[in-house]
Amino acid sequence: MSLDSDSFSPLPKATKAEGINRSSTTWRQDACKRFRLNPLAMGGLIILSLIIIFAIMGPSLSHFDYRSNDLQLTLLPPNWVHPFGTDELGRDIMTRTMYGARISLLIGFGSVLINLTIGIFYGGISGYLGGRIDNLMQRLIDIIFSIPDLLYVILLMVTLGAGLQNIFIVLGIVNWVPMARIVRGQILALREQDFVLAARALGASTSRILMKHLVPNSIGQIIVIATLQIPAAIFMESFLSFIGLGVQAPLVSLGYMVSEGRVDIPSYPFVLFFPAIIIAILMLAFNFMGDGLRDAFDPKMRK
């Protein structure tokens, strides 16, 4: 039996039986796709965008000012000129709601930015260094965590005094604990992996490993926590405004409007109704988005 080369012929080049047919998707594309397929999360994003547009663009389109009063037109129920009605001092409630939403959103995003920064540094250092320093830093977190943050917030606000700037400071320095915990957990899990060892073997410094390798790899979790902390901050600010420790007149936030509207509720429920509804919708939108992001970034949810 003999085999000559004529019996063999190469297969046509075109058939790639074991090639990769689908274009590879990066982690980010994957997450985006999963997020887009989640109707609740997308709904949250759309509603949130609408509220942000309402808050940013609204006041300049409105004929009224949030602080000038017109004592001849007090407590008008919703009508064509004032779609949300007017309050006790004849101010247009819709314009005030826009400003209030603006301040509330500003506080939400601003304070989360502060506690994001603190949390990433604290959690990152604690998780990466480990050992005794980690232990000490965790004890401090345990102490802070064992007391409701509302108590700290109230105490600090009483000490510093009410006002927008102090709200930023206080919410920023109080709410970083959950962020630091998450970041530390992520870093602890990541730092034992081979790519970190490789980076270290190549002579990367600690800060470079932290900022270039460890933090970017935990960014999904960080974004999720941040999204869920924004409504928490708005919640807290509205509570502070409600008990008189929040923003001060003439500034206005949604919580402040609710506490104003509370006085009028037996006869004029619409004064409270609109800001309260906007707060609730904001909370819902952020919560749906946060849940959607968590599912989107979770590789276990991959189909």
Binding site: I143, P148, L151, T159, I265, A276, I279, M283
Partner: protein, 310 residues
């Protein structure tokens, strides 16, 4: 076990000391004394006030005196109400707040677990969607909005309950519902998730294949195991009931500890602010300790090796 307990108690005491110290330093760092008003008082009167409340003592002495008093559960005089002490306020307010909190807790646990179980058993059916919808509303509407709306619709409009004040059970219902809205929602979500998890386990299938009736499976096998993870929620839950009281008592004008806390903030009545904060911190730390111990009794799989639960 004994060593673990001792360690936990020591750390709890440390936490309380930390809170006492922080509160003291924060309250004393506020510029201007508690009695500085626009009205200028004669120097003799100011001297008497300072004498009465030891305001001119050296700072360290004030701190040590305060610590000594706290150890004896003496929170000192109030600045606002002549001749009354913070202890008096706590003694009057705490039972009311505790009753309200307890009622809210009962509502939260009964309705939360009930709705969660129903939602899990009717997964992806109308009942499930309805419960999930209610739970979502519960977590996203701030308690002061819920309290105000209840007060308006059930109190002023429907006259179902007295809209304001404190007394027998009918006065407690609306505040308790407002206070429990958030925990009900959270417990519902947790129970639903945990029930779904349990219902997919093998031993439930075994029970079913044995031919056990549905209610036995649900009540005897599923619910008991599904409720264990709920224990983790009890620490935050208690904290929520404590601080949630601020709003609810304020809205419904209930003379409890929460309202006196909020009022004391407006009045700048520092001893009341400090006393209430320390009281809450102590209650919470003690409660968390008890919850951690309860875990080990309920679920022997949890080991007490140094690491701290929430």
């Amino acid at each position: 076990m004994a060593r673990y307990l001792l360690g936990r108690i020591a750390s709890a005491i440390f936490v309380i000391w930390f809170v006492v110290t922080m509160t003291f330093f924060l309250m004393h760092s506020i510029p201007g004394g508690p009695f500085s008003t626009d009205k200028v008082l004669p120097p003799q009167i100011m001297a008497n006030i300072n004498e009465r409340y030891h305001l001119k003592d050296p700072f360290l002495k004030q701190y040590i005196d305060y610590l000594k008093n706290i150890v004896q559960f003496n929170f000192g005089p109030t600045y606002r109400y002549q001749g009354r002490t913070v202890n008096d306020l706590i003694k009057e307010g705490l039972p009311k707040s505790a009753t309200l909190g307890l009622l809210a807790a009962v509502i939260a646990v009964v309705f939360g677990t009930g709705m969660g179980v129903v939602a899990a058993l009717r997964q992806n059916k109308a009942a499930d969607y309805f419960v999930t919808f209610l739970a979502t509303i519960g977590v996203s509407v701030p308690s002061f909005v819920i309290a105000t709306l209840l007060q308006y619709y059930l109190g002023f409009k429907a006259h179902l309950f007295p809209p304001i004040g404190w007394g027998e059970l009918k006065y407690m219902m609306m505040p308790a519902i407002a206070l429990s809205a958030y925990p009900v929602a959270q417990i519902t979500r947790l129970t639903r998730a945990s029930m779904l998890d349990v219902l997919n386990q093998d031993y439930i299938r075994t029970a079913r294949s044995k031919g056990l009736p549905g209610y036995v499976i649900v009540f005897k096998h599923a619910i008991r195991n599904a409720l264990i993870p709920l224990l983790t929620f009890f620490g935050p839950f208690f904290a929520y009931i404590l601080t949630g009281n601020f709003v609810v008592e304020y809205v419904f004008n209930i003379p409890g500890i929460g309202r006196s806390f909020v009022t004391s903030i407006g009045n700048r009545d520092y001893p009341v602010i400090m006393g209430t904060t320390i009281l809450f911190a102590t209650l919470l730390v003690t409660f968390n300790l008890l919850v951690d111990i309860a875990y080990t009794i309920v679920d022997p799989r949890i080991k007490l090796t140094g690491q701290k639960g929430v």
